[in-house]
């Protein structure tokens, strides 16, 4: 076992930014908008670094797919403690159409190339909310998956996992190699402070293209339209309960 962990990190629009839809309804305004690492990806990086600090794994490799700016996200991961980065260069139309299927194919190819023992991802990205990449990657590699992980512990060549599911908490044990997706309560990500960012500048980021990994990034999905959610209708005031019932009947609600 190589003791190597691949962590996928995604560059998304910062969670605190107010999203605006482009006037032509083809997408969301991204130019000049603050971007940062997906919060769930931060949790995944933190978990990987924690495993390394406990000496349970040897190397943390941060991976990001996207244009040149994705390297900033990888730098943040390096500042949090990852050892090196791989930037999969996808830009322009390919990047606009990049979805979980293509990313999982890329991750699967990288996992084989890097002989990874574990793939850690965030459970979903806050921009597309797909919640698919982890599951698809596991399926492509035929590896077990521990999704929505709120607790992870390594036991020999197996992993004990607690999953946060609708019914409560599920305890499972899976073999390695495996794919784990991080849920909110897995850990508290450390902040990438300035001294750490400076130290991380010495760490290497390799650049590859999807074609180098034998992955075709054409999408089978086409975005037809992006629009804002319907505006909230103004409320109406009524004088009596009878009026309320009449209004509800009119609206077809009763």
């Amino acid at each position: 076992m190589s003791g190597r962990v691949l962590v996928g990190v995604k560059r998304v629009i910062d969670y605190a930014v107010k999203i605006r839809v482009k006037p032509d309804n083809t997408g969301v305004v991204t130019d000049g908008v603050k971007h940062s690492m997906n919060p769930f990806c931060e949790i995944a990086v933190e978990e990987a670094v924690k495993l390394k600090e406990k000496k349970l794994i040897k190397e943390v490799v941060a991976v990001s797919c996207g244009p040149q700016q994705s390297q900033e996200t990888i730098r943040t991961a390096l500042a949090m403690g990852a050892d090196r980065g791989i930037h999969v260069d996808v830009s322009g139309k390919d990047y606009e159409n990049l979805g979980p299927l293509q990313v999982s194919k890329i991750l699967a190819a990288l996992a084989k190339q890097e002989d990874a023992q574990l793939i850690l991802l965030g459970k979903q990205a806050i921009d597309d909310d797909c919640n698919q990449t982890g599951q698809m990657t596991a399926a492509l590699l035929d590896w077990p998956q521990g999704t929505f992980a709120s607790e992870v512990s390594l036991e020999g060549d197996k992993i004990n996992l607690v999953r946060e599911i609708d019914g409560g908490l599920e305890h499972i044990k899976i073999n390695t190699p495996a794919v784990i997706t991080a849920d909110l309560r897995l850990n508290t990500p450390r902040y990438a402070t300035l001294p750490n960012i400076m130290k991380a500048k010495k760490k290497k980021i390799a650049t590859v293209k999807p074609a180098d990994l034998g992955v075709d990034v054409t999408s089978r999905l086409e975005v037809l339209k992006v629009e804002e959610p319907p505006q909230r209708q103004a409320g109406m005031k009524v004088e009596t309960v009878e009026d309320l019932v009449v209004k509800l009947k009119e609206a077809g609600r009763v």
Binding site: L184, Y191, T193, L194
Partner: protein, 85 residues
């Protein structure tokens, strides 16, 4: 100001400035407050006092990191999880 302490103070200022970029009320507001806080103490010469102030600054860094984490955690919790009964 003693030389090693000078680098400490500058390090602290740079770190705080970097953290301030994400301040909820705006990076400019933060920078203004940061600068005036440091300027207020610019004539302090006692090394002990300087060390105390630097320690206080490090404490502020920790508080900011906690603030940022809580903001993000609460936003994610609100967006993705059912409210607790």
């Amino acid at each position: 100001m003693a030389n090693p302490l000078k680098t400490e103070v500058i390090r602290l200022y740079k770190n705080l400035l970097y953290l301030g970029r994400e301040y909820p009320q705006g990076a400019a507001y933060f920078k203004q407050r940061l600068k005036s806080a440091f300027m207020k103490n610019k004539d302090v010469t006692d090394p002990e006092k300087i060390k105390q102030l630097v320690a206080r600054g490090d404490h502020v860094i920790k508080e900011l990191e906690a603030l940022y984490f809580l903001r993000k955690y609460r936003a994610m919790k609100k967006r993705y999880y059912e409210p607790e009964k």
